[in-house]
Amino acid sequence: MDASGIGLWGVPLAILGGAIRVSTPFIFVSLGEAITERSGRINLGLEGTLVFGAMAAYAVAVITGSPWLGLVAAAFAGLCFGLFHGWICKFARVNDIAIGIALMQFGSGLAFFFGKPFIQPSAPDLPAIPLGAWSDIPQVQAALDVNVLFLIGAALAVFLWWAFRNTRAGLIVRVVGDSSDAARAMGLNPNTVRLIATGVGGALAGIGGAYLSLYYPGSWTERISSGQGLMAVALVIFARWNPLGCFAAALLFGGAGALGPALQSVGVTQGYYLFYAAPYILTLVIMIATSSPSRSLAGAPGELSITK
């Protein structure tokens, strides 16, 4: 082995680095979806929100020169998409899953339409914190360049986990999610709570999009998301609607996604399609191992249309 490469150490390092770099959009989208689903609604449109957020963030960053304004724009756009979903779904006999699919297409299409002029220009990136500065190995420094959004996402996961259990707002969301009747008996309006929960979920998904276009991979193209928003929605079920679980699952997916390229880079070149499938195989195994025919999914909100 020569001095320039780090050989087999590259694999664990790439998984660590990948977990940090790739997971952030998963964290934000899945935390947003966790809030929405805890209130008893599913918003499948977050893929579209993610793509639109990526476009909006990039466009605003290009125009204003400030990635932070881009981030705000993405969150605001996501909020609008979420509120739109929440507003339509309050009408009787509206299927939230169908609306979500429609909004997924709508968000992506709108992003492509408005995003055309922004494919070519370069936008300023969101800053990273060099947590690897203690090391003199450039690979370690690169892996530990942690974006602030990752840290915010981690803090948010802990906060939501705490807030669902220990705050009045958390209790309200959970009650509405578990039983509309009980919520009405308490004097709560389930539609208002769900509207807010979907709006907040959309805003978080928009922030996830901003990370994609403004940090990693760090450019706006129409293929930027390649289904990450949908995966993140699925992660919520995988994480049993627990914010800490969402964070862990996002890290797992990020790290597992880095496994394939990293193994090839150290010369393990056979069967890379299998390595690329690793995250999905792992998901399947965990889902099968933890499911049971005799009870519904542990932690599933009672009002969720998939569990009703």
Partner: protein
């Protein structure tokens, strides 16, 4: 809605699809149909036409035709390789009056383009790739392609002079013959400078996966690779990520130097403008169009990006000399003695495969010095 004005579902779909297509075409070319054009040419892209890559290369070729008198161009981008492309072709023919169509993506050919060839025998179809076969396929179809492997060889020459670690990296989409030829050419170009150079390849498995391409680039840099090139639909992510990590990059498909002006060495680009001009000249003049069109650097089908500021004098010299030799014709990238990286002989001493050798179109090996596997 009155009883007289009922639409059945099929009619409605047809009308709205046509309306949408018309809207799209007229939105992009508001004056295109106002002129009494003598010919209309259609271009269909699988992705966005400003992707810094494959589709942009084709769209630049199409854009170069726009000044030609009596010719109008219709384009549609982001058309999936499904029955959608048949609808696009049909609307280009029926609504825009296209008499020549270029479906530019590999997967458009079979069965979509072939179905349209049978349905519209008076319209000419030319597909980008190597699929058309004169014994099997209709005469109003055809294929055109460029030998871009020589361009990757030239990339390799510059990379070989630039690398300090003697490790090159290649982010590849899928192990198909054209991609393998590009990887092999890149390494062999570098080995013409220093035979100890190796090239690490990472396959992402898809033509366009931004995050995986970025991860692959990072993994390569982590392993000490200091010059990277790629064969994916949109090299933007690879170029930006590599340059961000301090590695040099060689481009592919189109000129990506604006993305990384300091780190961009050179790049192998398509020059479809030349190819499309040839077809259109024949069309306007009323000549029969060729069915089988191929060409390389010497024919102007392929070109190189201008050398970047980081390219040193020895690299520049060898680049110019190799390019001159290629322009003369008869330059073989794959020549013996040469083994695959599994040890099999792929060319014996004295054996040479010119760029138009049909054997190269079924390449299934990586040459000695490439670290990677085709499966």
């Amino acid at each position: 809605m009155t009883a007289k004005f009922t639409l059945n579902r099929r009619e409605l779909l047809k009308t709205s699809a046509a309306g949408a297509a018309l809207g799209l075409a007229s939105a992009s070319f508001p004056i295109g149909r106002a002129f009494a054009a003598s010919a209309t040419v259609g271009f269909i892209y699988v992705g966005p036409k400003d992707d810094y890559g494959y589709n942009q290369a084709h769209a630049e070729g199409a854009a170069s035709l726009k000044g030609i008198e009596g010719l109008s161009i219709v384009e549609e981008e982001n058309v999936p390789e499904t029955v959608d492309v048949q609808k696009t072709m049909e609307s280009m023919i029926n609504l825009d009056g296209a008499s020549l169509i270029f479906p530019t993506s590999f997967g458009y050919f079979d069965p979509h383009m072939l179905a349209m060839c049978t349905k519209f025998p008076d319209v000419q179809f030319r597909h980008c790739g190597g699929m058309w076969n004169k014994d099997k396929h209709p005469k109003n179809a055809g294929s055109y392609f460029g030998y871009i492997g020589v361009g990757q060889y030239l990339n390799g020459v510059v990379a070989g002079h630039t690398t300090k670690t003697k490790k090159l990296g290649f982010v590849a989409a899928k192990p198909i013959p054209q991609v393998l030829l590009n990887i092999n050419s890149f390494l062999l170009g570098a080995r013409s400078v220093d035979p100890t150079i190796t090239c690490q390849v990472i396959f992402t498995g898809e033509w366009s996966l931004a995050v995986k391409e970025a991860e692959a680039t990072n993994a390569l840099v982590d392993q000490g690779v200091d010059v990277i090139t790629c064969h994916v639909d949109s090299p933007k992510v690879v170029v930006e990520t590599a340059a961000g990590r301090g590695a040099f990059v060689c481009g592919y498909h189109a000129n990506q130097s604006p993305l990384a002006p300091e780190k961009y060495l050179t790049g192998a680009e398509w020059n479809w403008a030349k190819v499309y001009k040839m077809f259109v000249d024949d069309l306007v003049a009323g000549n029969p169009l060729p069915n089988f069109t191929r060409g390389g650097l010497a024919d102007g089908f392929v070109k190189m990006s201008p050398l970047g500021p980081a390219v040193g004098e020895p690299a520049r010299k060898q680049f110019d000399a190799t390019l001159a030799e290629m322009m003369k014709g008869g330059f073989a990238v794959i020549k013996g003695p040469l083994n695959s990286n599994k040890g099999a002989v792929v060319a014996t001493a004295g054996q040479a495969f010119l760029e138009n050798a049909i054997e190269l179109e079924s390449m299934d090996y990586l040459v000695d010095g490439v670290v990677g596997s085709t499966a």
